[in-house]
Amino acid sequence: MRPAAAELVDSREILPGQWLQAYHAPDLAVGSRAGQFVHVRTGDFSGMVLRRPFSLNTVDAATGTVTIHFRVFGRGTEWFTRLRPGDQIDLFGPLGRPFEVDPRSRHLLLVAGGLGIAGVRMLADEAIRAGRQVTLLFGAASAREVYPSTLLPDEVEYVVATDDGSLGHRGFVTALVPDYEAWADQAFACGPAPMLAALARLAAGRRGRLGVAKLGRKRGGGRTDPTGSPAARRKAFLQVSMEQNMGCAVGACLGCVVMTMSGTPQRVCREGPVFAAEEIAWEGGW
């Protein structure tokens, strides 16, 4: 975790208003894990004082390349699109805690809503490298916002839902989940908060519907890991990657918290951005 100079290698608009940028950043490309993020500084002369957080979309240790995938939302993201190959930029990371895959999980269900794909994309690479099976459920408003399958590893089973039915299932991506409930050992999701909340509700009912959750049954009444610990998260069926506006991204400012079931706010940048779904107080709590 250091502010590090990175050089833009490639920048492409892969979907309307959505950009994929590759940076040469060897320090980041080694040791980063799926679910972690970088905090990116905008131009020096700008009136923009805050960095912008982006998920590590992919990393390639061999070439020292990391990619981010972002949507043009406001001034900062607009500014990034103006960078040209060769431009230097300051990427701070890797930050936050990664997804934790149970060593016994064979079937991983990834659920992404829109830009949420950037949050789980790297997990697909990691899982396939580890010989796991991956199904990615992807939801978007319409066909023109659907993530191109060419940007996914061949091994990924890719299922699409669109709100208007212009491609794949018509409706919300959450509607696809029950079909995979039994198949999946674990699920990992990133996307708009309402989508994550719906998934959390589904996950909470799953144990009842399936009888016994596949994972954890061998553990019987053994010791319980403290909530929020990597070990506890590793056992969770559903892990979600959360978003919050950030100041510092290292846990210093308490700007980025989410309320948890324990009644204590947790920092997305430090305890997150990945949480077990059951840690989160989905209805708020302030």
């Binding site: 809503g113 829109g114 916002e145 309402p194």
Partner: protein
């Protein structure tokens, strides 16, 4: 999507339905932009053609930008601060840039009210756009005297009282920082004229609400907010403050959050319209200020970077309404205000970092 697997039969979305991306709302019936009602009725017969004004001190007397801006398409023009007698203003430097803003200390250089009338009123009379004369003074008497001379002058559509001036009768305390003094000067001017009367709030106060209330109670037709924040800069050699007058007024995008707060608070405690000023540089800023209760906005500092901005904002506002199927921009006002504004919140004062 070659690798898409055959989908299970479509089924109803799970309850409660979740929306993954912004819902595709039913497209509203589009109103042609030219037909959107942008007029602002401030009472006493003052109807602005649209809610985009230019702020006092940044657009001179309306004539200086003549070659660049078609003044007749503006919503209104607040001219440079005018006093009873001519003033030569402050020593230089008078302006400097600051991060996201600027400081100015013009010191109310102006030819005095009589010369103003002689030089500009006839021109203003030929304009469709109302010109509001920004009035300053150092005593209630001075304000009243200036306004009296403006009363009835063709071409003068209204008054904007700049009360961020020292009240010599009160030991130099600004009228604007004291509810009593602010109310007193407003009431006195109100008695002196039937012209539409706008009073401009200073942000350099701990709580704007009693001041806003006092001004409204004293008979103002509208509030304008904000004037500049008090600030300084240091000369490059660091042997003195940079501005000739030491103190300057901070304006520009940097002050927008403060302006939003003051407008938000004032709009909740008065019934008269509030016109917002402070850091407007694009349509989003206009929409933000309308959302917190402003009926119109003034563009100031941003004119220096882009003199064509105010007119562009007029067009863009009409297009925005048109796109959203709104027959009048007034539907945008107050959308971010708390639903019940009955009991004024004490939050402004209770703010904790």
């Amino acid at each position: 999507m070659s690798r898409r697997r055959p989908l299970p039969a479509a089924r109803p979305a799970l309850a409660p339905a979740t929306r993954i991306l912004a819902p595709t709302r039913p497209a509203p019936a589009e109103i042609p932009a030219a037909e959107v009602d942008l007029t602002v009725d401030l009472g006493r017969g003052l109807v602005l053609p649209n809610p985009i004004l230019v702020a006092s001190g940044t657009f001179g007397y309306g004539v200086e930008y003549g070659e660049v801006v078609d003044v007749d398409r503006l919503g209104g023009i607040c001219c440079k601060g005018t006093t009873l007698r001519a003033r030569i203003g402050n020593p230089t430097p008078r302006v400097t840039e600051t991060p996201g803003g600027m400081l100015n200390s013009i010191g109310l250089q102006n030819p005095g009210v009589d010369a103003l009338i002689e030089k500009y009123a006839a021109t203003w009379m030929t304009w469709r756009t109302p010109v509001l004369v920004n009035v300053a003074g150092e005593s209630v008497h001075e304000y009243v005297e200036v306004v009296r001379r403006l009363d009835g002058v063709p071409g003068v559509a209204g008054i904007e009282l700049n009360i961020s001036c020292p009240n010599v009768g009160m030991g130099g305390l600004q009228f604007a920082i004291d509810a009593g003094a602010a109310g007193e000067v407003t009431a006195a001017v109100r008695r002196a004229t039937d012209l539409p009367l706008l009073v401009k709030l200073s942000p350099n106060v701990a709580d704007i609400r009693p001041i806003a209330r006092a001004i409204a109670d004293a008979g103002a037709d509208a509030l304008t907010a904000i004037n500049t924040l008090s600030g300084i800069a240091v000369a490059p050699d660091r042997r003195r403050p940079l501005l000739g007058n030491v103190y300057g007024g901070l304006s520009g995008p940097a002050v927008k959050p403060v302006a939003l707060r003051i407008v938000y608070e004032a709009a909740q405690v008065v019934k008269i319209p509030v016109i917002a000023i402070g850091g407007v540089t694009e349509l989003a800023d206009v929409l933000d200020f309308l959302a917190v209760g402003a009926v119109a906005v003034q563009v100031g500092t941003a004119i220096f970077a882009d003199p064509t901005l105010p007119l562009r904002l007029v067009d863009e506002l009409a297009i925005e309404c048109s796109r959203r199927g709104m027959a009048t921009y007034r539907d945008l006002i107050g959308s971010a205000l708390p639903a019940r504004t009955g009991r004024p919140s004490a939050k402004g004062v209770e703010y904790r970092p």
